[in-house]
């Protein structure tokens, strides 16, 4: 699956990961490797386990068997070591989850100040630079509820980036957005991909997958069914499940 010339250690490595929600086997023997700089896009029908898979990487979901390694180290259980690991893995949620009682600047600087022990002045300087990068330099003092969905999601991306993460994960980042706001978020994500950020993206945006992904991982019913570069996957899907899925999402 990996090209043989690379000798780097994988940034994320899942092997034989299984997870159940009650009787439902939501992740079935999942093997997945993410190399530094790689952009992995997870697609598949609703309920196929993509979000759950993504959330196991920073242990927002625990697993029942198998193992998850981030940066060569097994994922720690609860406690300080896990918090430390999470600080290196940025996460963007479907519903933004900005801290409702803090303004935009405070949302972005909370992690750097509390976790990285950065001074307030330094953290704010960097936060403003990040806001500039996501096109929201005039919103530093606004509260989340005063922003549109697209703006909130761009702030959430800036909040993740403020920790200088090794990996950014996006869990359906545009699914809760009005259609006219989707592109402003995808544009920021595509810039990140171009700049070499390692990314794991769960999305239904096929256009984004085609343009930005290094690898498309297609999931169905808790299994990884197909892994391929986007051009191969979209133009020449190998499995019946993938062909069926693509015929439904690409037909209109």
């Amino acid at each position: 699956m990996e090209n043989a010339t690379t000798t780097q250690t994988p940034l994320v490595q899942l092997s034989k990961v299984n997870k159940y929600f009650g009787d439902l086997h939501v992740l079935q023997d999942i093997d997945l490797t993410v190399m530094p700089g790689e952009v992995i896009v997870l697609i598949g029908p609703s309920g196929s386990g993509k979000s759950t898979l993504c959330r196991t990487i920073n242990r927002l979901e625990t697993i029942d068997s198998g193992d998850v390694k981030v940066d060569g180290r097994p994922l720690p259980a609860e406690g300080r070591a896990l918090a430390e690991l999470r600080s290196n893995v940025g996460m963007v949620f479907q519903h933004f989850n900005l801290f409702a009682h803090l303004n935009v600047l405070q949302n972005i600087t909370l992690g750097p100040i509390k976790v990285r022990r950065m001074t307030k002045a330094k953290a704010e300087e960097r936060a403003r630079a990040l806001l500039d990068r996501v096109g929201l330099s005039d919103k530093a003092d606004s509260y989340p509820a005063q922003l549109s969905g697209g703006q909130q999601q761009r702030v959430a991306i800036a909040r993740g980036l403020a920790m200088d993460p090794k990996l950014m994960m996006f869990d359906e980042p545009t699914s809760a957005l009005d259609p006219e706001m989707i592109n402003e978020v995808l544009d920021v994500m595509q810039d990140l991909a171009r700049e070499g950020m390692t990314m794991v993206v769960v999305t239904h945006e096929m256009g984004f997958a085609r343009r930005a992904a290094d690898k498309v991982v297609f999931m169905a019913d808790g299994q990884i069914v197909e892994v391929a570069p986007p051009a191969d996957f979209f133009d020449n899907p190998q499995t019946a499940r993938a062909q069926d899925f693509l015929s439904k999402v690409l037909s209109h």
């Binding site: 918090a83 949620f93 989850n97």
Partner: protein
């Protein structure tokens, strides 16, 4: 009816002062203990959750008077001797703490799970996410119920007359039982009611103001 008004006012006034400081000190400790209980309730460590559940179940379901009696009459038997007013404060604060803990916990539970997930995802520890993300938001939702607990505590504090603390109600009882002077019963009773109103009405007012000020900027 208006005979001896000055003496009645003086007696009730000195009792009222006791009511106010006993309530204030008890509420302070109730907030501290209740905060610890709420933290234990949501903690990832099962023994902490068990302790909080047991404490709350016990103190919520025993009458305050029984709590006061058990402490005042029972604990000295195992060698813990304290002045009456200290038992009053310990009884009132441990009892009220169970309710404060439940109130804070419901406040914490009212915060969207996504807030905690986002806090953890940027690397905050359990304690840090509680302090910086969850509690500041939970606090806004619990100001009104905490205010109700405070006004209830002001009234509950009248029960400490049973263990010999001379707060407002105890002073009233003393006046009524005074066979030398024969204070008018209704003057004393209405005076007591006025005393509690004087304390509780401003509390209600300030709680309403605090509530309005704590509303999200949106």
């Amino acid at each position: 009816m208006f005979d001896n008004l000055a003496q009645i006012a003086a007696a009730l006034g000195s009792g009222l002062w006791v009511t106010v400081w006993v309530t204030a000190v008890s509420f302070f400790f109730a907030l501290v203990i209740g905060g610890v209980l709420a933290t234990m309730h949501v903690s990832p460590a099962p023994p902490a959750r068990w302790f909080a559940t047991a404490y709350t179940g016990l103190f919520k379901n025993i009458p305050l008077l029984a709590v006061l009696f058990i402490m005042y009459f029972g604990l000295p038997k195992i060698g813990i001797a304290l002045p009456n007013w200290q038992w009053a404060i310990i009884g009132l604060s441990t009892y009220t703490a169970a309710f404060v803990g439940e109130t804070l916990r419901s406040g914490i539970n009212s915060i969207n799970l996504g807030q905690a997930e986002a806090a953890r995802s940027i690397g905050l520890t359990f304690g840090q996410s509680l302090r910086n993300v969850i509690l500041p938001q939970a606090f806004r939702t619990v100001i009104p119920p905490l205010g109700s607990l405070l006004t209830a505590l002001v009234k509950n504090s009248s029960l400490v007359l049973a263990i010999g603390v001379t707060e407002t109600s105890a002073m009233a009882q003393r006046l009524i039982n005074d066979t030398d002077v024969h204070y008018n019963l209704w003057t004393v009773i209405i005076g007591v009611a006025l005393c509690y109103l004087i304390v509780n009405l401003p509390i209600s007012y300030f709680i309403r103001r605090a509530e309005r000020r704590a509303e999200f900027a949106r």
